[in-house]
Every structure is written in C-alpha cells, then in structure tokens.
Symmetry: C2
Subunit: 230 residues, 2 copies
Amino acid sequence: MSHTYEYPRPALTVDCVVFGMDEGDLKVLLIQRGVEPFVGKWALPGGFVRMEESLEDAARRELAEEAGIRPSHLEQLYTFGEPSRDPRGRVVTVAYFALVKLSDHNVVHAATDAREAAWFSVWDTPKLAFDHSDVLATALQRLKGKVRYQPIGFELLPPKFTLTQLQRLYEVILERELDKRNFRKKILSMDLLEELDEVEQDVSHRAARLYRFDHKKYKQLEKAGFNFEL
Amino acid sequence: MSHTYEYPRPALTVDCVVFGMDEGDLKVLLIQRGVEPFVGKWALPGGFVRMEESLEDAARRELAEEAGIRPSHLEQLYTFGEPSRDPRGRVVTVAYFALVKLSDHNVVHAATDAREAAWFSVWDTPKLAFDHSDVLATALQRLKGKVRYQPIGFELLPPKFTLTQLQRLYEVILERELDKRNFRKKILSMDLLEELDEVEQDVSHRAARLYRFDHKKYKQLEKAGFNFEL
C-alpha cells in the first residue's frame, strides 16, 4: 500500500449547488453553518467524503442530511482545490449541481452540521463561506451554457406549464429578455413540447394554454444536444 | 483543526489526457508505469497531489516530470472517485486534459515513475491501468462536444495549415467524413481564418493554400462560444 501513503493527504469534501425555480426567480439552496469555521455564515450544503462512498453518493448523503433534499439528477460541476480555500488546512472539494422543482422542496429541513437551510435568489445571496461564491458562479455559468445546447426545464418547472413560464425560465437563466414570438417559434419547432387540452386555473388574466415536455424527445435531445440560438 | 481530521482521507491524484494531432491521426500521450500497481502497464501520466500545490500545478508538474511536456493550456475534465478504482485503496483522481502540437513534442522523455512515454492513436491504445480507459473516453467526449461550440485546432495544428488539414482534424475528432464544400463554406464564414499568400511546400500534389487562425477572433469565439452544425 506504500504508494498511497507516502504523502500527507488533502481532506476531500463535496459541495452541492441546488437550483430551484420559483415564480419567475431562480433560487439556490443554502445552509447556515452550525460549526466552525464560518459558524453562522451561509454556505452550500456539503461535507466530507467517506472512505466507502462514491463522490455522488457523498453529495446525495449530505443533501439529504443537511437539507432533506433528494434530487433525481445530480451532475458533477468542477473540483476546487486552491491550497488556501479552507482555513482548516488543505481541503479539496468536488462540486455537484442539481436542478429541482421548488414546489417539491419548498420546506427544507436543516440537520447535522446545518443550523438552517433556505432558498435564496441566486442574484441576492448573503456573503458565502469558503470559496462558495466562486462555486455558485461556476454553476450559473454551466446553467447558462446548458440552455444553449440541451433542453432545460424538465427538472425546474411543474409537470404542466405555460409557454410564458418556460420563456421566463430561459430569461432568468440568460439574464436577458427574449422576444416572445421568436422564442415560441423556436421552442415549438423542436417538438419538445406536448400541447395539452388544458389551460391554467385560478388566474386573473386570460388563462393560458398548458404544455408538458415530451419526455422521450427530451431525453433524446439531452443526449444528442442541439443548437438553440436565442 | 478537528473538522478536517475526524475522517480517514482518500488519497488524491491528478491524471492528464494530452491529445496531439499527427498527420491525420489523433494521438494520446501514455506512460508505461515503472511502479506498482500495474507496473509495466500503460497509463495516463499523473500522480499524487502535494499539500502545497494547486490541482492544476500538480497536473503540470506530473506532465513535466513524467513526459517532459509543458502544455500552454490545461483544462479540468472530471473527477473520478469510485471507491474500487484503485487496488491500493481509496484514491480519487482529478483528470485534466490538454491539446498540444505533436510537432513540438514528438520526442517525449520518460522520468520518475514512468518507464516509457509515448504517443498512441486514441483509436488503438493498449489496455490501460486503473480506470484510465474511462478517463480517456470522457476526454474524447469532451473534445467531440467542444468542436460543436468552440473553435478548435489552434493548439493541435501547425501555425500554418491547409483547409484539408483543418477538415481532417474535425473528421478525426467527430469520427465521420465531412462534405468538403460545406465544411469550407462554414469555417470560412466564421472569419476565424486568415488566408496567407503562401502554399504548402514539398508536396507531390498541387500545393494548397495555407491559412492561420486569427488569434483575436479565435479567443473571442472561445469565450463567446458558437453553434457549429457539421
């Protein structure tokens, strides 16, 4: 075993950027640290990787422990390893990111090392512990990139949604307004959406048509990728 | 310091996938291991991360030590952490990938833990140690993806090249033939190339026009990304 033990080892953690979509706003899940360092400060949920678990399992365990959240899909984002990023010493963290329906996770329960868990607008978070602001910024970049070459929204929107909700999701992620007619023309041309015989309920304005994703086509495009110029 | 020391730590390594373009073939740099485990087997260059160095610095140090290679650009690829991936125990590896001009690195010099260093066609490598075949496959996927939304070739082609050489690069990466007229139309429409007043030298066939990348435009497109349907 000598080769793996010759060297002092950095500590290894995972951290998770969980995005949720709320009426027209993109939210990120944060926890308030209950332990040093940065006790009382807000941070991304995460913690140390155990010897017997995979990196993704560690990320899922920490999300469940610290915020009671179990996302269907987790994706590895980037590994942050600047020697000075943690005051405790050398700690390398593998960051994951996930998209969830906020409606399924409106109430998040803090536990273990987390004092509180809550959703914050990605554009208005408190100062984050460690280099977690960089991790969040990297996740937002990834999300902006995905929009251009993969379908998005399945994990973020309710099962049935209006085209306005879908456009709003794109606008929030891309941080700019999109032309309504142009957006609809492009999104509908992809055969990604199923038009339903239903309209929104309980709205003051004229009820809009509801759509849902064609799951098979969605998965196809996720795999094959596409070019979506907006 | 307790929080970082409560847990046994996985060992942390870096591994590098270095691609080089050789007359019409995509090559990957491999080293023959001089130490256990997998002594004598071929693997990606890499090694343990030191406590005081960043992950990228570790990757650069290992590349220089094991193969005498100093790529201008290194990019983090993915972190592999399956508990069973290394027979020595729990070892998590952060993989990097780099593109280099084979002409600058034709002769690679093995050193330290590497017995030999050599270039292999990516389509015809020996059986690799650890999970390095998965790492290589992941790097090839990343390269295929990049071709679609970023300019490519600056690090792989000689400073002056023909459109045929550039098309061949795309064909090798995409693993399919491209229509010559269509490819030229698209690539020239991007204003990415500077046509030179020179033609190839010492060729039996009719000497073709030489081009070079417009570095400024190349960097712009690298940053902004584009949609290149081929």
